[in-house]
Symmetry: C2
Amino acid sequence: MTYDGLALFRDITDSEVEAMIRCFRMYRGQYGPGASIRTYGEQGGEVGVILRGAAAVVRFDHAGNRTILERLVTGSVFGEVLAFTPALGDCLEVVSDGSSEVLFMSYDHMMKRCEKACSYHSKLVQNMFRLVTEQTRRLSLRVEILSRRSIRDKLLCYFRICCLEAGGPAFTLPFSLSALADYISADRSAMMRELGRMRQEGLVAVDGRRVTVADAPLPGEDPVRRV
Amino acid sequence: MTYDGLALFRDITDSEVEAMIRCFRMYRGQYGPGASIRTYGEQGGEVGVILRGAAAVVRFDHAGNRTILERLVTGSVFGEVLAFTPALGDCLEVVSDGSSEVLFMSYDHMMKRCEKACSYHSKLVQNMFRLVTEQTRRLSLRVEILSRRSIRDKLLCYFRICCLEAGGPAFTLPFSLSALADYISADRSAMMRELGRMRQEGLVAVDGRRVTVADAPLPGEDPVRRV
DNA sequence: GGATGTGTGTTGCAACTGCAACAGATATAA
DNA sequence: TTATATCTGTTGCAGTTGCAACACACATCC
């Protein structure tokens, strides 16, 4: 296995990675579609990296509502020490989306200053820093979406972010419409209804998972400031 | 000024901090109550640290709704590179809460590997890492709150988190009820109404900013898992 | 003192949203 | 093929929520 292309191991050679895997006692796990990678609460201070495939951090509240807290793709990091400490009796789970492979390591071990002062160790920390920073930005976007007051605003906010990432007025949803409802934390039928209204008003066009937004923001364009 | 007690400068002596301030060309700013510390979009890759006082990251959408995206206290870090990139034409602002003092530095300069390899530089990066991690956890909690489907659930979720932090069934709100509504992203009057209902049902007791929760979770108690 | 601004508390109303239920489409496995 | 599961699409209904408006308390400032 090569670790090329993984942001966590950027500027670190495969042989150095192998050395770290031994030194840090990292281990890998393979998961099938829908398999539970981790249930939060059980893992001590562990950090996971998605080597291959994708996954999602989901929460089930006492009423059984599923909420997708976070989507993890190849290269994403997750872990209780990084985010989403379960505190309120809800069930938190990392679920494999399709088949995936995950590398686990001890957070403390990674953060501890190594007596050998290996240069790749500090590179690892720097890379992890970048990943956590990205994570923070994704979470911020999530907060931006969830803090909208209506389903319509949530959808528009999410769609526009997707357009910016895609660099055009159209993009493909990374998950099903049902999962989208869970992601924006809304009732599915209510979302479908609102989506229908928006389609009628010509705000969006939805064809399967393909979404086209009417007044999509152009990338690079400075947002208008209203004070 | 002493930098004691600031998480960013932990394990770094004041004289080392002073050296870094010169080397990094950091600078300080003082702000009065309600003053705008930064408007997102204007600052390049800058990172700010609250040295004294408190602040809030707020957003005004096109309809004028205010949303408190994040509360910053002494020691908190903020910056466009860390979180909350404005992307959708809304107005994002860091507003001083009371009088405050902020230290700014260049993100790139901080992340760049220093040719002198000063030990305190790498300590700074480690400390920053911890702060960003904490930031991530706070954002996660925020997502947990906002992803609740009703005002009641949002309030209960937030209150319980506050109880866990306070270590008891009662705590004092860090801001006004009006600001709380902005924080949970709900209409103020609707929140007051729901709060009244919850009071009637004996779920909570609210006296000014003092909140007591009936079935507060106890710290250290393992959350119940329901699969 | 009055003016101003902010925070609290309340109400009516219209609109939105969650919920339950149903039907059809599609895909996968037995 | 038949089951089974998931996803899509729709509807009625009841409850929640946002919105606008108002009254009052409490500060600060002139």
